[in-house]
């Protein structure tokens, strides 16, 4: 029985591998849902024969394979040799190599905060002239993407350093449609409904949520996403921006209220699988697994769009698992805020070929080819959305495009010591029992200390 399950999973895996193992240009040179015209024009206009482009980034494993398929098309078009190497400890590696003068041409930053740090130390090179105008005109909500990629240089003047490529939507709740169907639960449209559903599940003897904050040295980050989502659902976007800039202090009652909104879910033993004590120690990669247990260990899991990579093998989107938008309060007139994050390309070692690669990223096809491989959302408005691998991804893309408010992950924008340090550890303290006001004050003190 079990072996048949495994065999069928293996067959699925094999057939999908075979679909991609089609020569080194995985998508052929025509057809499909790809925008070939601009690619061909780019190929005719660009000749970089003999040049090399080196790229490093945080994508490893199968994500690296996906990038390399796209690089093959860059190489084919330009005659250059672009090579990508991913690192599990990218954030540390790029700082060491840039400071010691052996940086690759381009780096893919998972956090704008780190890119801003490096730009202020003069380790990044501004993107070619005209890129800002192009992003403004061609990305949905273009100006906000320009702002997110613009940092002060070593002299304090603002320049565009980052070009966003690959975006994650974070305001998603994952659930099992079957479990919802069998128990007669409806998808909540408002935060009030979501809370009512949570209570309903407890009443029926189930556990509503799976929450896991564990992530090795980065333990605590999933909680920062919760708090950010709650900030957007209880406060105006302006307050959120002020919070990111520390004009609204971390120990402001508004922020403490948002932390407590998160605590209302995570610190209630009845609401989370394993009880509140398990939240901090459960690994975020393992926590969605509770959705797929029989009987389900939990019914809902709030996590970003990348999480399907950690679902059990053979999980089918739409059938075994689906998602809904993490709803907003009906009683608060704040629209439908969406929290997101993204990776950006920046030039760490300038060359003509590196500039040409940035131009390559402007082509719709550079986005479509990853859309077709799954696990990729883009704000590029010129792409053919039919290229998305699945309906589910397309729906996530729609959430991104239909957001009345889009805000970038605050912890990624805050200074590294806060957003990738004090905020994480503070959240771990909070879920293990510390007082929200004290935790917030501790984080604000750290922030004061680095200013």
């Amino acid at each position: 029985m079990k072996s048949t399950l495994y065999t069928s999973a293996a067959i699925v895996a094999l057939s999908s591998a075979a679909a991609f193992a089609d020569g080194h240009l995985a998508f052929g040179m025509e057809g499909g849902d790809f925008t070939w015209d601009s690619y061909n024009a780019y190929a005719d206009a660009t000749d970089l024969s003999g040049q090399t482009v080196t790229i490093t980034g945080p994508w490893t494993g199968n994500e690296k394979e996906k990038v390399e398929k796209i690089l093959a098309y860059f190489n084919e078009a330009t005659g250059a040799t672009a090579s990508y190497s991913g690192s599990d400890s990218f954030e540390q590696d790029i700082v060491v190599s840039a400071r010691s003068g052996s940086a690759p041409n381009l780096a893919v930053f998972p956090q704008p905060g780190l890119a801003a740090d490096m730009a202020s130390q003069g380790l990044l090179t501004p993107l070619p002239d005209g890129t800002a105008e192009w992003v403004r005109d061609n990305f949905a909500a273009g100006q906000s993407w320009v702002d997110l990629g613009t940092y002060a240089n070593a002299d304090g003047a603002d320049e565009l350093y980052g070009m966003f490529y690959r975006v994650d939507v974070k305001s998603l709740v994952w659930y099992s449609p079957e479990a919802f169907d069998e128990s007669g639960y409806d998808i909540p449209e408002t935060m009030e409904d979501l809370k009512a559903l949570t209570d309903q599940i407890v009443e029926d003897g189930g556990t509503p949520w799976c929450i896991g904050l564990g992530s090795g040295a980065a333990t605590g980050w999933p909680a920062t996403d919760w708090v950010e989502d709650m900030m957007l659902r209880t406060n105006s976007p302006e307050d959120y921006d002020a919070w990111v800039a520390n004009e609204l202090k971390f120990d402001d009652p508004k922020v403490i209220a948002a932390i407590e909104e998160f605590g209302a879910f995570a610190r209630n033993d009845d609401y989370v699988d394993g009880g509140a004590a398990a939240v901090a120690s459960t690994d975020f990669r393992d926590s969605p697994g509770g959705l797929f247990e029989i009987p389900p260990k939990c019914y809902m899991h709030r996590q970003a769009s990348f999480i399907p990579a950690f679902f059990p093998e053979g999980t089918e989107m739409g059938q075994d698992v689906d998602f809904f938008y993490f709803p907003a309060y009906e009683s608060k007139d704040l629209g439908k805020p969406v929290l997101g994050a993204g990776t950006l390309f920046a030039i760490t070692n300038p060359s003509d070929a590196a500039n040409a690669f940035i131009d390559f990223l402007k082509l719709p096809i550079a986005h479509e080819m990853w859309m077709a491989q799954g696990g990729f959302l883009t704000p590029h408005a010129g792409v053919n959305t039919d290229a998305y691998e699945s309906e589910s991804l397309k729906a996530q893309g729609d959430i991104l495009l239909n957001a009345t408010t889009f805000r970038f992950d605050a912890s990624d924008l805050m200074p590294g010591e806060i957003g990738a340090g004090a905020f994480w550890t503070g959240m771990v303290d909070y879920v293990t029992g510390a007082d929200a006001a004290e935790v917030a004050k501790g984080i604000q003190d750290r922030w004061d200390a680095i200013q």
Binding site: M1, K2, S3, T4, L5, T54, T56, W59, T60, G61, N62, E63, K64, S83, S85, G86, S87, D88, S89, D93, V96, S97, R99, S100, G101, S102, P104, S176, E178, A179, E182, S183, D204, G205, G206, G216, R285, D286, G289, E293, I294, P295, P296, F306, A309, F310, P312, E313
Partner: protein, 374 residues
């Protein structure tokens, strides 16, 4: 008379038992790792490795194909077997995900909307519904599954691209990075132990002081230096880095050992007209072999397992990956989700250090005690 040398202490059984206990205690993580290396990611997160040798009752879900439904007198029926072509034994079943083991095998379950479900213990089932069946209904059941181990993790690692290359790269880094510091340190240790010159005590203190400097401090300045002198990120660069990071311990260890050699031998050699170089090569070096071997083991293990220095001082392209980098950045999957691979990779990469250790371990104890007992 119990404490006379040569007679067996009455407490020896206590010593033996505690040794056995300690060994077992120390081996538990390794055994856990070994067992985990034969399980896949889902199994590892589902149950602990200590449960893996036993058959466990697990809950499964199968879908009854709606296409097979037959309509007969207003009742739509699907029949089939939950095990498909295979076989097994159903203990309990249910029609709801929230209650997958509500009914005993053989019972007839009344489901919502007048649907019924019967599952026999051999797996055959009958599902009925008064309405037309449009969606594949799910059947949940509990069945015992035998322990399941596979070599897939090992296969994935051995079959991955460039694994042989990574292995050779690791050897390319490790062997020179072990030999070069020993060569330099042996000379330095002899000078610090047996040659009289001004500032010797200060130099020894300096070496001891260097032992406590964390190597992470030196990464960026050292790589900047390498880039300036034109070595850049290369094997030569990493040999020099490992040499530099290994030297303080090497000199300290060897010097302490050499200083403990009998003064008479060295002095009589000098009286007979031997130069310092001859004393070093003919007398001190052969006598110091245990200390050299034990340092070689240390340095070999450290460079073999090293990830940080390799990431900084070697180019980041996949042709220059050593095994640790290959495992961390390539095999572990995006965001490090493949636990099983990690366990299997640990056992593959441990093989060579184990061989080195067991062939040289008899020197290790003697060398570890270098200079500490007289």
């Amino acid at each position: 008379m119990d404490n006379i040398a040569g007679t067996k202490s009455s407490l020896s059984w206590a010593v033996n038992i505690s040794v056995v206990l300690l060994v077992v205690l120390w081996l538990i993580p390794t055994v856990g790792l070994l067992v985990s290396s034969f399980r896949d990611r889902d199994q590892i997160s589902a149950t602990g490795w200590w449960l893996s040798p036993f058959p466990v009752s697990e809950n499964y879900q199968v879908k009854a194909p709606a296409d097979d439904a037959t309509a007969d007198g207003g009742v739509n029926t699907i029949t089939g077997n939950v095990f498909g072509e295979g076989s097994g034994k159903v203990s309990r079943f249910g029609g709801k995900r929230a209650a997958p083991t509500e009914f005993k095998a053989g019972e007839t379950a009344q489901l919502t909307r007048d649907r019924t479900l019967t599952v026999q213990s051999d797996g055959s089932y009958i599902y009925t519904s008064p309405e037309e069946i449009t969606r594949d209904p799910s059947i949940y059941f509990a069945a015992a599954s035998p322990p399941d181990f596979s070599l897939d993790n090992y296969r994935t690692i051995m079959a991955s691209d460039n694994m042989d290359r990574a292995f050779i790269n690791t050897l390319t880094v490790t062997i020179p990075a072990t030999i070069i510091p020993i060569l330099i340190a042996a000379f330095a240790a002899y000078a610090l132990a047996w040659m009289d010159f001004k500032g010797r005590g200060f130099l020894i203190a300096l070496v001891v002081g260097l032992l406590v400097v964390p190597l992470q401090l030196a990464l960026v300045p050292l790589l900047t230096l390498h880039n300036k002198v034109g070595i850049g990120q290369s094997f030569l660069g990493i040999w020099m880095a490992h040499t530099g990071f290994g030297l303080p311990l090497a000199i300290y260890l060897l010097r302490n050992y050499m200083v403990g050699l009998p003064r008479d031998i060295i002095e009589s050699a000098k009286v007979d007209g031997a130069t310092d170089f001859q004393v070093f090569t003919k007398i001190v070096l052969p006598l110091s072999f245990p200390a050299l071997a034990s340092f070689a083991i240390f340095q070999f293990l450290w460079t073999w397992n090293d990830l940080l220095v390799a990431k900084v001082f070697l180019p980041s392209n996949s042709e220059s990956w050593v095994m640790t980098v290959k495992i961390a950045d390539d095999l572990l999957g995006s965001k490090g989700g493949d636990w099983g691979i990690l366990a299997a990779a640990a056992f593959i990469s441990i093989a060579v250090p184990l061989i080195v250790f067991f062939t040289m371990q008899r020197y290790l104890v003697r060398g570890l005690l270098a200079g500490s007992v007289k």
